[in-house]
Every structure is written in structure tokens, then in C-alpha cells.
Symmetry: C2
Subunit: 306 residues, 2 copies
């Protein structure tokens, strides 16, 4: 595979950046990868496990001479990073990010991008509940989608090149306008996470059912929610604070629907419940057919012993 970027700089060395490093190394689609993290502990871990070809101690150093700079920090931290790195960017370089909300990234990062640097926001739709430099793995993006959200007027060649990079990491890509991106993500990602956090919070806070019971009997359904409710708190705080409008709109729809089902339960409307529960089966089938999940029972979970 031809080298797509000779030098890539990863800023923020968590789950996404570390997976980008490992997956890029599989194919040789990138040359040298330098990495930076704000925390000295993270940089030390990165050096220990061989994450990045070089680990730098400053933003100026990590972006020097980079053809692609990837902002992989929480959405709320991107503006400050952009301001700090701007004077050190190489003319002709591309800046991208992996944030889950795009309008706020465009608003906060865009103004710092120098004249001769390209800015192509993107969002890989992949992740796990684990975070930090040791959580990445080479196959995270395989057969997943990366949404590319170039602002109007972005250089088409820079967009094509970023897409080629994501293809090399294993992803498919799709272009989307920013408003639609933030709405789609509210539906497929932000609201599911908020609902999962809520469900786990409720179970943790009951007086009439003990924590011990909730934990022991969680395989009856509850444990599925605890996985995504174990995701990184800072990342998710920033997502909700910055995608407020779409989140609140979709929460409104969710609540309406929940109340309709609650009413069916209260009035004993079995027909409505049965029809609803039959309809939701279809979506699962479509997700399996699209190769976006496994049909093995229970996600193919390995049974674990005490």
C-alpha cells in the first residue's frame, strides 16, 4: 500500500488514537507517527508499550513537520489545543479530529487553522467501553464507518486523502453535513449512552433492591447497559454539553415513546405491546445483515466464572 501521509501526529493518546496507530502500522499506509498526551503518565505508558514511533513532550514538537495532525482529545479541550498548535503547523498539512460532535469542533478549532492548512473534521463510529493508551487495538475500525464532515470550501484533494487514510485503517467513509451529523450521532450514540447511564444510575440508587442483587442478577438484561455506561466520563460530559440541542430534541422523542408504552402497560393493551416488540426485532435483523453486529447469542460473550 502506498504511504498516504509521511508523518502523522496524534494529539491525545486514548482508545481512538492508540487504535489509529496500531491499525495504521498493519498496512504501512503511514510513515512516521508521533504522539503527544497532556499527562506525563500517559506519555510514559506510551513509551513503555511502543505506542507511536516517537512520543513528544510538547504540542509544538509533535506537530512539527506533520502532514496530518489528529486531534483525539475530548471535544471540550480541542479549542485550546488548536490555539497552541496553530503557529507550529506545516503549510499544506491537514488537521483532522475524531470528536463525536462536529459543530462545536468546527466552531472552536476552525478559527485557529492557518491559511495554508486544511481542516477536515471526521468522526470514526467505533469504540469500546475502555479508555486510555493501553486500550487501543488494530482492528477497532475494521468494517466500521468514519463520517467525514468537511466545512464548505475545503480542498477536495485534502478530503480525498483523509478518506484514503481511513480506508487504510479499515473503515468505510461517508461524507455528511455538520447539522445532520450531530443529529444522527444523537440517535445512534449520544442518546443510547445517556439512557444507559440513567439506567445504571437508577439501579445504583434504589433503597428497596440492594447493589448486591443488582450485580448478581445483572445477566437478565441490566448488564448490557453497564458496558457503555462505563465509557470515559470526560468525553461523554463534553459530548452532552456540546450537542445539547440534538440531544434534547431526541430525548423528547424518547420520553414521548416511553410514556406511550407506559400507558399501554397501565391500561393492559397487550396488542400494542406485542406489535411494538415485533417491530423492533426487524431493526436487529437489518443490523446483522449489514454486518454491524454478530448473531451469536449474547454477542458471543464468553461465559466467565467467579
Amino acid at each position: 500500500m502506498p504511504v498516504i501521509y509521511d508523518k502523522v501526529a496524534l494529539i491525545g493518546l486514548g482508545l481512538i488514537a492508540s487504535s489509529m496507530f496500531w491499525s495504521g502500522k498493519r498496512t504501512g499506509a503511514v510513515g512516521h507517527v508521533s504522539g503527544f498526551a497532556r499527562s506525563a503518565e500517559t506519555r510514559e505508558t506510551a513509551r513503555r508499550i511502543g505506542l507511536c514511533d516517537s512520543v513528544c513532550d510538547s504540542i509544538a514538537e509533535v506537530v512539527a513537520d506533520a502532514d496530518l495532525v489528529v486531534l483525539a482529545v475530548p471535544v471540550g479541550a480541542m479549542g485550546a489545543v488548536a490555539r497552541e498548535m496553530a503557529p507550529h503547523l506545516k503549510p499544506g498539512a491537514t488537521v483532522t479530529d475524531v470528536g463525536s460532535v462536529k459543530q462545536t469542533v468546527i466552531d472552536n478549532v476552525g478559527p485557529y487553522i492557518p491559511e495554508r492548512v486544511h481542516f477536515v473534521p471526521a468522526h470514526p463510529m467505533a469504540g469500546t467501553e475502555h479508555s486510555g493508551p493501553e486500550s487501543g487495538f488494530a482492528t477497532l475500525f475494521d468494517n466500521r464507518w468514519c463520517l467525514v464532515v468537511p466545512p464548505e470550501g475545503t480542498d477536495p484533494a485534502a478530503v480525498d486523502r483523509l478518506e484514503a487514510y481511513w480506508h487504510a485503517l479499515g473503515s468505510q467513509t461517508e461524507r455528511m453535513d455538520v447539522e445532520h451529523h450531530d443529529l444522527v450521532c444523537a440517535v445512534v450514540s449520544h442518546i443510547p449512552h445517556l439512557i444507559a447511564y440513567t439506567m445504571v444510575g437508577v439501579a445504583d440508587d434504589l433503597r428497596r433492591v440492594t447493589d448486591q442483587e443488582v450485580i448478581k442478577f445483572s445477566a437478565a438484561g441490566f448488564r448490557d447497559f453497564t458496558r457503555i455506561a462505563a465509557s470515559d466520563p470526560t468525553m461523554w460530559r463534553d459530548v452532552f454539553l456540546t450537542n445539547k440541542d440534538a440531544t434534547i430534541e431526541m430525548l423528547g422523542r424518547f420520553t414521548e415513546e416511553l410514556f406511550a408504552l407506559q400507558r399501554a402497560i397501565r391500561t393492559g393493551d397487550g396488542e400494542q405491546l406485542h406489535a411494538y416488540f415485533t417491530r423492533t426485532r426487524t431493526i436487529r435483523r437489518s443490523i446483522l445483515e449489514a454486518g454491524q453486529d454478530t448473531d451469536k447469542p449474547d454477542f458471543g460473550r464468553v461465559q466467565v466464572g467467579k
Copy 2:
């Protein structure tokens, strides 16, 4: 292992009953297992795949001479089955069930149990999103919990024997009173399922986001909900209709909590969100420590291709 019941009759041959058959056969803890299902198609499938030592065409036949009769039909169908089988039960036999709601089973089945027959309701806290006679497997109950809910005055020896049977199938057991059972299950199972059904229903019903988008990008969180929202519609209709009070109480708590988080998002209270999302991580950790889920990223899901 000594034989615990010489003859077991399974009524209803879905996920749970078929898993009981296969797991019982691993250890030889049961002698002959007869099976019955209302649908001729299910009986034919059972015969084809060797599910049960004998497949019977009537309830009278399947319970004849059985030491243990297991009702494994939807909760709403149990009363009718109990009435039909009652005259054919062997004196000294035990009747149990695997229903997810216990008060309604005790109310609807209890009155039909003859004088010299024991009735020990139980509820294995295990399952997958698949249903039907071909969905069962021998390890479903391994390291899971089975809740045993004997009504007052039940013969202690009959309860002990049923517990020994569940231990032989791989489960741990715990006794619980009926009201507490129905509340605990609302929390760990019924509300999570209702919330998952709601989330999937909302995503299916949006005009501004296409179904295709919801499916393609589902790995960002949404797909976790689609698994339990693909569970058997009849079973779940009956659960909500029969555990109405506990479900509605817990839904109230859920809605309160969701509104509190929504308010934090609307007012931009990042501190509250961060504290909440940090707290919910702890429960996940406890579930892993209790051996009730795997710590592999993404449940150890196999990545699937198109």
C-alpha cells in the same frame, strides 16, 4: 452425579426448556425427559434435533409419571396449562415454572395444584435474544442465578430438591419472597428490556434520520440495545402486563433520573454529569468482579464482515 429426578416433563420447548434439556444431559442429573409444545411445528423440530428423550403430543401424556413438571411457556399461558395438566399429575410430583414474574404465576397456577403435589416456582436469570426450540444450549445457566420463590408452607424437601436440580444445571440458587422477586426483576430485567425496546422504536420512527443511517452507524452505541429488543415479543408482552405495579414504579424512578440528567445538560452542569458518569463505572466493575460479565472490550464481540 446421582439422579435428582427420574422423570422430568418440559412444557413449552423454547430457549429455556431446550437449554434445561441440554444442560441436564451433561451431568446425568435427570433420567428421562419428556417434552411437549402446543405447536406441531415445534414438536417436529424437537424430534428432528433430538430435543427431549420423548416428545409427546398432549399435556396429559407429557406429565404422566413425571417427578418434575416444568412450565416453560409465556407467563400469560401458564394458568390454562396448569388447569389442563392438573388431573394427570402423579402424587408426590413437583410442579415448577421458569416465568419472569412470580406473583401472577402463583395466583394463576397455584389454585390448580392438587393436594399431594408440590409447587415450587422458580426463575432462572439467564437468557439470550434468541427463542424457539433450536436456540437452547447446555451452558446457558452456568454461573447464573436461579431465584426460587416457594409460597408459604411449601414442603422444604421439595424446595431443596429443586435447588439441587438447578445446581446440576450449572446455576447458583437464591430464595426470595415473591414481592421482592418481582421488584428485583423489574430493575435488573424488565425495565432494561422496556428501555431497550423504546430506544429501538424511537430510532425506527424518525423522519430526519434514515433507517439506513441508524443501521450503518449502530456500532456507536445503539446496537447494544437492539439485542435485548429482539427478544420474544409474546414473552415480554406477558411480563409487562403481569408485573405492572413494579414496572410502573421503576419507570417512575427512571423518568425522574432521566429528567435530572436532561436538566443538567440544558443548564450546562458539567460537574453533575461528570460525577454521574464516574459513579456508573463502579457498577460495571462490580459486575465484572462478580463474574457476571466479561471484561473483553465490546463483550468480546467477534467483528463481522459484510
